[in-house]
């Protein structure tokens, strides 16, 4: 009788354990199915015996493609991955940051990786479990932030220098202007001397203006004050920009096509800053088209309205940008133009302004075919 009671008790206990087990299994499966991380298990040899759904996203392979293959083969550097596995065997677990894996499509995926040794009840090793968190995007963002930071720092230094140079520059400008005034009215100069002197003074003035142009642009670039936002119509601003550039376009065969979204394009942003972006992008496009020559020069300005942002693109059929240059055009002072024509500040200024306005600027270009710059900014 007592045995029977005991048996019943054990059976009940077993049943509740089973339920618990099922629940745990369901729980684990849920993790494996839904986690964005790569979670895997291997046998003693390090060959994959389980691979989570997240893993399929992180590395691009399906379970069928990886089943039974050694996990280290998916690391960019299998030898150093083996070392991490070795450490895990020794200590029972191991953590490694920033481990590079190779995605099925060939690109590198960086993962924070933690490994754990799996042992059975008798203490024998049966394999290993690993969790790899994809931090590639985060890492890219981090790098970008560092780049922006560095650019801002360079900008601040450059602006400091520009500011210091501005005052002496102003003095040189006015002194040469005064000299010019005097020469104009001076008596007793031979025509040759007068001409020489006038020419020289004019050159000093021209070069001073050139310097001023650079210092002003640098100060524009470094200006990180908050934008002053007002509501305005971007279409109107674009038309004003074109009118402003009319003198440069007039004598060319460049055709400007406006492909505007219907109606006014109202935003709450800083029109002065945005105008600067438009002028810079247009100036670049005009130059690229003229450099290519021919009579088919064309610049198309297109606008689009989305839910919370607007998009303005400038498409030209100019010389385009070579793949090598494409990586550098946003660098401070990077220019392919001859000394008097470009300072290499236009695009960095555009980038810093657009970011300041909470938007972004991108481009697509093919050498010899043309370039499209696209500016996106939030509506408010």
């Amino acid at each position: 009788m007592t045995e029977l009671k005991e048996l019943k008790k054990v059976t009940r206990k077993l049943a509740s354990h089973k339920i618990e087990l099922y629940q745990t299994r369901g729980y684990l499966q849920c993790i494996l199915q839904n986690s964005a991380d790569l979670i895997f298990a291997t046998d003693v040899e390090g060959s994959l015996v389980s691979f989570s759904k997240g893993g399929e996203k992180v590395l691009g392979y399906s379970w069928e493609e990886v089943a039974g293959r050694p996990i280290k083969d998916f690391a960019e550097d299998p030898a150093s991955f083996e070392r991490i596995m070795g450490a895990c065997q020794e200590k029972g677990s191991a953590v490694a940051l920033d481990v590079p894996f190779r995605h099925k499509e060939g690109r590198t995926v960086f993962c924070n990786t933690s490994l754990m040794d799996l042992t059975n009840r008798k203490g024998q090793r049966v394999g290993m479990v690993g969790i790899c968190q994809d931090i590639t995007r985060w890492k890219k963002l981090q790098e970008e932030l560092i780049r922006v930071d560095r650019l801002a720092e360079i900008g601040r230094i450059a602006a400091g220098v520009a500011h210091e140079i501005n005052n002496p520059l102003a003095v040189i400008g006015e002194a040469s202007g005064w000299a010019g005034d005097l020469i104009r009215e001076a008596k007793g100069l031979s025509p040759d001397d007068r001409h020489e002197l006038e020419d020289t003074v004019k050159k000093i003035g021209d070069q001073t203006r050139r310097c001023r142009n650079i210092t002003h642009k640098l100060l524009d670039f470094a200006r990180d004050s908050a934008p002053t936002k007002t509501a305005f119509d971007v279409h109107e601003l674009l038309k004003r920009t074109i009118t402003f550039l009319e003198p440069e376009i007039k004598h060319t065969a460049i055709k400007i096509d406006l492909n505007f979204a219907e109606g006014p394009l109202l935003v709450n942003s800083d029109p002065r800053l945005l105008e600067q972006v438009f002028v810079n992008l247009m100036t670049n496009a005009i130059y690229a088209v003229l450099e290519k020559g021919g009579d088919n020069g064309r610049i198309e300005i297109q606008t689009l309205k989305a839910n919370s942002e607007i998009e303005i693109s400038f498409k030209d059929n100019g010389v385009g940008i070579s793949d090598e240059d494409q990586t550098k055009i946003f660098d401070l002072f990077y220019t392919t133009k001859p000394p008097r024509k470009g300072t290499g500040l236009g695009l960095p200024i555009c980038q810093s302004i657009v970011r300041n306005l909470g938007g972004d600027i991108t481009f697509e270009s093919e050498a010899g075919i043309g370039t499209t710059f696209t500016v996106r900014i939030p509506i408010s």
Binding site: E174, W178, L219, R223, S225
Partner: protein, 164 residues
């Protein structure tokens, strides 16, 4: 230039070399020019003589450009200010905008642009001043002052407006 009234310009900038050449050029072009090298000096000048336009540097040791403008306008309410900034910072320029600067330029300013701005500012000043002068005259006539009181009041007005 001869048949036009001369425009009285007050220059305020701590860069002495710059003011030397700027004032020489403006003088030669027929402006009446007073160069001062600090805000304090400018205030002193405004207490002694009458000016149409002040060209003020924003960043000076001691009294800065914003404060200088404010004080100048307290002394001579119709004075138009042109602000020079070597700062490249909108903030301070905007702040001076609150002081109603007629226009502001990034330093170094182009001389020809400056001359145009001075002439425009002068026009604006005259308009404003005339309007107010007439208004005050009318108030005077309807105030019922006797001839003697009237004469004195007009004399006072002339002084305020710098009309000789």
């Amino acid at each position: 230039m001869n048949d036009q009234p001369t425009i009285r310009v007050l220059l305020v900038d701590d860069e002495e070399d710059l003011l030397e050449y700027l004032s020489k050029r403006l003088l030669k072009q027929g402006f009446t020019v007073k160069a001062t090298f600090s805000g304090e000096e400018a205030i002193e000048a405004a207490n002694e003589g009458y000016y149409d336009i002040a060209v003020v540097d924003l960043k000076m040791p001691g009294m800065d450009g914003v404060e200088t403008q404010k004080r100048l306008r307290e002394i001579q309410p119709f004075l138009q200010c042109i602000v020079l900034t070597g700062h490249g910072s909108i903030e301070s320029a905007l702040e001076s905008g609150q002081q109603d600067a007629f226009q502001y330029f990034l330093k170094p300013v182009d001389y020809d642009d400056l001359v145009v701005a001075i002439k425009d500012a002068y026009k604006k000043k005259i308009e404003k001043q005339d309007r107010r002068f007439r208004q005050q005259l009318e108030e005077l006539y309807s105030s019922g002052l006797g001839p003697k009181g009237m004469k004195k009041a007009i004399k006072d007005l002339r002084q305020i407006y710098g009309i000789e």
